[in-house]
């Protein structure tokens, strides 16, 4: 199915800035040898043989155990705290309260509004009020019990809409509205006047836990020279360092952060390591000893960031033929107790703004108005989780598209075909999609592979007793590559050695997404060697250039470009050297398969290693440094108009389900997911991302929810918090389309987050198509489906 759409890739309407960047990169047409092939993942053999060391596998010999005393209240003042008895306990090395902190008492991925240790008040159940470091885990626990805290409980806020009330208790001094954003295009009133049908619906999604298998763990190890070394599984070593330094009251260069291979992150290990690192570091600094904090599963659920819950109110107008005329939306985006990754980093960073921008979906709509409120509550806090605000709004717009289609009596595919983005479409922010727009192609090929028309015609009762019905569902989606901030630059270094081997320095972390495989692949492609000739230096802030965080589906695309630019600097040395050795001008030289050769006379060639040795001997540049900054984003603070992200990945999913209309149980029978990824650098790894992503979207649809009662998590363990098992996940057929991205390495776009996004609404839509049960408040567990069918007056009777 690859390259099916090649014809369409040539049409481009790049801006001048984009054109310049594309010219600088000029990789899209390169014939590939190493990139674009499914080489095995480098970490797989270590993983399947159990040799790979995760954070918790590192010996804690000589370490103190760090523990956090947590608030049992959702909102309360701390009247007094007495740590004397805990300090006196044998084996306790330190008990710290807010007063003992050396530097800034605050951390946060965007704004430092979360106390390292709460001083005067607590804002959610789980907030840290004291830290303990002890010789053993048991002593640490005993010490926690000996700390006496007197609280004065305050009324809490547990619904984001309540947070907006004038007389609502203030969770933070600046009030409960963390961000109030608007996006306005055209005139929605005029748009509604033109509409034949207008629907108003509210959709609601809960807090989600990432449920990565590896619980968070962090080690803080004071070095003899005064440097604080932090080690742990994390997605954002540089953001961690940026927080630990001011908390310790030292310059950034006095903190060194090393990443340990992650056992899953999904966005969650972007900011929980900041939290643990700051806390472990202050304990290590206070005791002068290494400290390890490992969270228990229940603590992971209670303490760490979640996917933001949202209440989304939509009003959408459509003409009889299915053309959308107006979209009006309100988002109550629940931030929880602390800002984490929610608030805006101008112009278009932060999950809240991203949700607002994506809310109307990948459709041409002339009139749009979205009001988006980001609100503090006394719940755990929302952070990044595979899609950063986009999964939530897709659940709203994709359900709305189906509800509109049903109202008009047209099919779910028809209404999407009518409105889907194409090259040159204008988005709700007024951005003209200038290149790499394969959305319609994904719809076409997904429908093709899934046999949509046939299957749609065959939906209905499965059994004679009329207890089960089969149905089909579709959803489309779009997702940005990059993060929409001005500072989204990314650096890499390539170090060539005299034997032709290469060290690649990158700060992008591995969490199962395959970065440690794909990045060397890109480096090898550019130099004309094999992936195994490139060894990747693990992220370490003392060694690798600043690369930004491993988020936003940016690794392959942004880091890939930085690597290409770095590799070209050493390649220049090689080509100059080879040119002299072969007496052929450099323009005629090419490198491939460890050979440098004359394109016009390929027999005239040299071994890559021999050229490297000669270049070294001649004192040529052997270290390349690359820096890639994507096109500058824009988004007007008042109107929400601009070009927030430079390129998007597109997708269509289709699924067939059987619903037991008497119990509400759902069985997924078949699944096809099509993507326009620009270019698949490693198709097999890409398919892995697709399968894992769909499984995750399935969990969101059918079972996942952090259940909270007055701020208390009711299902902190994995017995109560359900994620899909192998048996829940159907066979998933990926379809990969490549509509070249001129601004990505060899045409690639991001893929990490996209696959889970349309999966959730596709499944919800299929359930409704099969049974009439439309679940607008997730998850669609059997009970909610059962009542939704009842509310609809029963299943279809045909």
């Amino acid at each position: 199915m690859q390259d099916k759409t090649q014809e369409k890739t040539k049409t481009q309407v790049l801006t001048r800035e984009e054109n310049e960047l594309a010219r600088r990169l000029r990789t899209a047409d390169k014939p590939l040898t190493v990139a674009g092939t499914s080489i095995g993942r480098r970490d797989d053999p270590l993983k399947v043989t159990g040799k790979l060391k995760y954070g918790a596998d590192y010996s804690a010999e000589g370490f103190l155990f760090g523990k956090i005393l947590r608030s049992p209240h959702a909102h309360a003042l701390i009247k007094s705290i007495n740590v004397k008895k805990a300090q006196e306990l044998e084996g306790v090395a330190a008990v710290l309260t807010a007063e003992d902190l050396p530097g800034r008492n605050g951390f946060g991925a965007i704004i430092p509004d979360q106390p390292v240790i709460c001083g005067d008040k607590v804002r959610f159940v789980g907030d840290g009020v004291a830290l303990v470091a002890a010789e053993t885990e048991t002593i640490a626990h005993q010490a926690l019990k000996l700390i006496e805290v007197e609280y004065e409980p305050l009324p809490g806020i547990f619904d984001p809409r309540d947070a907006m009330a004038e007389d609502a208790p203030k969770i933070h001094e600046g009030g409960n509205i963390l961000s109030d954003d608007k996006m306005v295009k055209g005139d929605v009133d005029a748009g509604f006047a033109e509409a034949d049908v207008i629907l108003e619906r509210t959709y609601q999604v809960p807090f989600l836990e990432h449920a990565y298998l590896e619980p968070d763990t962090t080690m803080a190890i004071p070095q003899p020279d005064g440097v604080m070394l932090i080690e742990g599984p994390m997605q954002a070593p540089f953001t961690t360092r940026r927080n630990v330094a001011p908390v310790l009251g030292v310059p950034i260069n006095q903190v060194r952060v090393r990443q340990i291979h992650m056992g899953g992150g999904f966005g969650g290990k972007e900011d929980s390591p900041i939290d643990l690192s700051c806390r472990a570091a202050v304990l290590a600094q206070a005791t002068g000893r290494p400290v390890k904090i490992t969270l228990e599963r229940e603590e992971v659920t209670i303490q760490t960031a979640k996917r933001h819950p949202m209440i989304m109110e939509l009003k959408v107008g459509v003409k009889k033929d299915g053309t959308l005329t107006a979209f009006q939306g309100v988002i109550y985006d629940e931030q929880g107790a602390y800002a984490s990754l929610g608030p805006k980093i101008p112009p278009a960073g932060g999950s809240h703004v991203h949700a607002m921008v994506m809310m109307p979906g990948p459709y041409e709509i002339p009139n749009v108005k979205v009001d988006a409120y980001l609100l503090y509550t006394n719940h755990p806090y929302g952070g990044a989780m595979r899609g950063f605000g986009a999964p939530q709004v897709h659940i709203a717009h994709e359900q709305m598209m189906d509800e509109l289609a049903a109202e008009l009596g047209i099919t779910a595919v028809d209404i999407r075909e009518k409105n889907a983005f194409r090259l040159g479409s204008q988005t709700a922010t007024g951005q003209v999609l200038s290149q790499s727009v394969g959305l319609r192609e994904t719809l076409e090929s997904c429908a093709d592979r899934f046999k949509w028309d046939e299957r749609l015609a065959a939906t209905g009762w499965v059994d004679q007793a009329h207890t089960k019905r089969r149905g089909v569902g579709v959803a489309m989606g779009w997702y940005r590559t990059s993060i929409g901030t001005n500072g989204d630059g990314c650096g890499a270094a390539v170090h060539l050695h005299e034997d032709g081997s290469v060290l690649l320095y990158s700060g992008i972390t591995e969490m199962g997404q395959g970065a440690f495989t794909v990045l060397p692949q890109i480096c090898a492609e550019e130099l004309g060697i094999m992936p195994e000739d490139v060894r990747l230096v693990k992220p370490d802030t003392d060694l690798v250039p600043e690369s930004g965080p491993t988020v936003g589906s940016r690794s392959t695309t942004l880091m890939g470009n930085a690597i290409i630019l770095a590799a070209r600097q050493v390649k220049e040395s090689l080509m100059d050297t080879a040119s002299m050795m072969l007496m052929v001008p450099t323009e005629r030289l090419d490198a491939k398969g460890r050979k440098i050769y004359d394109r016009e006379n390929p027999d005239k060639s040299l071994d890559f290693a021999a050229v490297a040795a000669r270049a070294m001997a001649a004192g040529k540049r052997m270290i390349g440094q690359g820096w890639w900054t994507p096109p500058v984003p824009s988004l007007d603070g008042h109107t929400g108009q601009g070009s927030p992200y430079h390129v998007y990945t597109y997708s269509t999913h289709m699924v067939q389900v059987v619903v037991d209309v008497e119990t509400g149980e759902v069985e997924l029978e078949d699944y096809v997911a099509a993507f326009d990824v620009g270019k698949a650098i490693n198709p097999k790894a890409l398919e892995g991302q697709i399968e894992g992503g769909v499984a995750m979207g399935l969990g969101y649809a059918l079972m996942e929810e952090v259940v909270l009662v007055e701020g208390v998590t009711q299902n902190p363990s994995l017995q109560g918090y359900l994620v899909p098992t192998m048996l829940d996940v159907p066979d998933i057929q990926p379809v990969i389309l490549e509509v070249t991205n001129e601004l990505g390495p060899y045409g690639a776009k991001g893929i990490g987050e996209m696959p889970n996004i349309p999966a959730t609404p596709a499944i919800i839509n299929a359930i409704a198509q099969a049974s009439n049960g439309r679940v607008r408040r997730l998850p669609a567990d059997p009970e909610r489906i059962f009542w939704a069918i009842k509310e609809a007056g029963g299943p279809p009777q045909d």
Binding site: P72, A74, E296, E710, Q714, N715, T725, L727, P782, F786
Partner: protein, 305 residues
């Protein structure tokens, strides 16, 4: 509402002083007796270990019965089936005898946890843990099973109808006694059984509702039926009212639907934040009683009209 964090704590170290591996039943019973009730039987450990880690269970001596001889048989004994006290869910689910002559039990055991759990966890442990929706206990209750319990004092036989005393409580004292075998009647030709389970995902889950049925057909009539449900009470629950209602009635959809309605009058699922509302689960009791009877009767050769 405030959260008691101490209760959530999960201890990475087990504080067990002694782990004893007896070679015979007598030795095992002696070991238990010599610790005066302070030791604890462990089989697959899939309930015991989590309880030790969360400190819900406080014992310092474990007596491992998983390697005792003559405890892992699954045999026909006349009209009866006898299952040893050490039989795992995996073995029971895969046994042709149980699949053929007690299919509800094979289905139930096949539902337990995951393959890893089923490979070590035992039916005996499932019974002794005394949970209301345990996947072997509920079908065994519908099959009118009885258990043989050995102690230093001798042996006794207890029918399951008298075995479950309360949530987590049974007639067996796991500090002094060992469950050595489980016995019940194999299904006759005019009998059938079924096990139904409703949950939010397909493995490793808390059931919303489980239902086991054993039915005896008499031509087009229902001679008798045993219906067990969980979790609708603190213990696995026999739905006697519905059983009495269907006995002797024609096997029609109307009878079965009414049986479902009858059941909702006596069994009493509670509102649960994680399992579901009382209203929903009551609706499901109706569906499951009807479907369970339908499936069991079909197996007995009687098609419901």
């Amino acid at each position: 509402m405030a959260l008691a964090f101490e209760k959530l704590h999960w201890h990475s170290k087990l504080e067990v002083a002694e782990y004893l591996v007896p070679a015979s039943l007598t030795e095992a019973l002696d070991m238990l007796a010599s610790h005066g009730g302070k030791a604890r039987v462990i089989a697959g450990g899939t309930d015991v270990i989590p309880e030790l880690r969360s400190r819900k269970l406080d014992v310092s001596v474990l007596v491992d019965v998983s390697r005792l001889p003559d405890m892992d048989g699954i045999e026909a004994d006349g009209d009866d089936i006898v299952i040893g006290g050490g039989v795992t869910h995996a073995a029971a689910a895969a046994s042709p005898l149980i699949q053929d002559k007690a299919s509800a039990l094979a289905t139930g055991c096949g539902w337990v946890g995951s393959p890893q759990i089923r490979n070590v966890a035992t039916l005996a442990g499932n019974l002794v843990s005394g949970q209301p929706a345990a996947d072997a206990s509920v079908p065994l209750l519908a099959l009118d099973a009885e258990v043989t319990i050995a102690s230093a004092k001798g042996e006794r036989v207890v029918p399951l109808s008298e075995f479950f005393l309360g949530l987590g409580q049974t007639a067996l004292d796991p500090g002094r006694e060992i469950l050595t075998s489980i016995r019940f009647q194999a299904l006759a030709d005019n009998q059938g059984s079924a096990y139904l389970r409703l949950a939010k995902r397909k493995a490793l889950n808390l059931p919303i509702l489980v239902c086991a049925v054993k039915a005896t057909a008499d031509g087009g009539n229902i001679a008798s039926a045993a219906i067990a449900l969980g979790p609708v009470a603190p213990v696995p629950f026999r739905e006697r009212a519905a059983e009495e209602f269907v006995a002797g009635k024609p096997a029609t959809m109307e009878t079965l639907t009414q049986a479902g309605e009858t059941a909702t009058a006596t069994c009493n699922p509670r509102d649960s934040l994680l399992r579901g509302s009382c209203d929903y689960r009551t609706e499901m009791v109706k569906v499951f009683v009807r479907r369970g009877l339908t499936a069991a009767l079909a197996q007995a050769g009687c098609t419901v009209k």
